[in-house]
């Protein structure tokens, strides 16, 4: 290798980034070539000079400003999705969430049943004495079609199947 080729390899040689063979060639050349040795020193000196460049010190509170910026940039969808990821899919919460689901389902059935009973009681309470007497005398009724036309009877549990009365 001539001096021009060696000169191109000196930076990588100084960085120890040459293979063993190239490295050996450069080393041998440098040991016998004062001109390339001078080049090598100039490379080293200019590289060392780069250390003169001042470092900038980031403004205090960088991390705090980052979290604020993140909070401002995150859309509500991201927040919900993160809450779901961190909350609903957290294995430790699975038993608690399962129990909560059971409570909600059983509770909704119980509430529904309670409201139906309440409705029936309210309807019975709203019936006039005349209507009640009519209900009591249902067995005596001769005209079942007439009974079927009485709308309020449809809501009464007492008469579950009007067909029975026909027999």
């Amino acid at each position: 290798m001539d001096c021009q080729e060696i000169k191109k390899l000196i930076p990588a040689y100084l960085d120890k980034e040459l293979g063993p063979q190239e490295s050996q060639q450069v080393r041998e050349h440098l040991s016998g070539c004062p001109g390339c040795q001078k080049e090598r020193e100039a490379f080293e000196e200019s590289w060392a000079m780069l250390g003169e460049l001042d470092e900038v010190c980031p403004e205090p509170g960088f991390v705090g400003r980052f979290w604020t910026r993140l909070a401002l940039e995150r859309s509500w969808q991201e927040r919900v999705s993160e809450a779901v990821k961190n909350g609903l899919f957290n294995k430790r919460l699975v038993p608690a969430l399962a129990m909560a689901c059971i409570v909600v389902i059983v509770g909704s059935f119980t509430l529904n049943n309670y409201l139906r009973i309440q409705n029936t009681n309210q309807m019975l309470a709203s019936l006039s004495q005349e209507d009640l007497a009519m209900v009591e005398n249902i067995e005596l009724a001769e005209n079942l079609e007439f009974i079927e036309e009485m709308g309020f009877l449809e809501d009464l549990d007492i008469i579950e199947n009007l067909d029975v009365l026909e027999t």
């Binding site: 990588a12 780069l50 003169e52 001042d54 010190c57 980052f66 910026r69």
Partner: protein, 206 residues
């Protein structure tokens, strides 16, 4: 997924402690993310500052880097050392910023501002006698900065990563998405250029 990845012995990057912190963050540990941020933000601010020549942009872009890291947490897969990945993001964002704003590079005889006011570059005659070594040192630093700024963009990145971040050629290649051979050539030309521009300052002040 975390355990699967950890058990994947074929992935060489799992030996990188920063990659492991990132995987911990992926599992929901925000403290790991903050550890990474505290470790890297001073380096990134300096790297970006030297790259785009704007302190304000440097802080802003560094925050942007960590926003990208944070947002890609759920899909993160270790395919390089963490520092290579994070500096790749920083380089790409800085490049976009340079293209958008076309920051002017500084000429060697232009005036420049320092914390203590405005100084005049004296690169033309570095050996001119000055009673004040401190001023001379500042001028030397300004010459260094100007010499770096005058490098073509890809040479400048390679120099910044090698000189100030001690990246290997392989890491620089990954960060810049080029071959190691290309990095060797970039650094060779860059160092030749730096040597020529700074040789007038050798032995001036040490």
């Amino acid at each position: 997924m975390f355990f699967f990845t950890l058990q994947d012995k074929s992935n060489p990057y799992l030996s990188d402690s920063d990659v492991r912190l990132m995987l911990e963050f992926q599992e929901g540990n925000k403290a790991s993310f903050e550890t990474l941020m505290r470790k890297y933000f001073p380096r990134l601010v300096n790297f970006i500052y030297r790259y785009v020549n704007s302190r304000e942009a440097a802080e802003d872009l560094t925050q942007e880097v960590f926003l990208r890291v944070y947002k890609s947490g759920s899909s993160y897969k270790p395919q390089s050392k963490f520092q290579t990945w994070v500096f790749t993001i920083a380089r790409n964002l800085s490049l976009n910023e340079l293209r958008r704003n076309k920051y002017k590079t500084v000429s060697l005889d232009a005036t420049f501002s320092s914390d203590d006011g405005e100084l005049k570059r004296q690169v033309e005659d570095p050996n001119s006698a000055s009673p004040d070594d401190e001023v001379l040192l500042r001028e030397k630093a300004a010459a260094v900065k100007a010499a770096i700024d005058d490098l073509p963009e890809n040479q400048r990145v390679a120099v910044l990563l090698r000189r100030y971040e001690q990246f290997s050629y392989e890491e620089i290649a990954r960060t810049m998405n080029v071959s190691s051979k290309a990095v060797k050539s970039l650094l060779s030309r860059a160092r030749e250029s730096l040597k020529n521009k700074l040789s007038g300052w050798f032995k001036v002040v040490s």
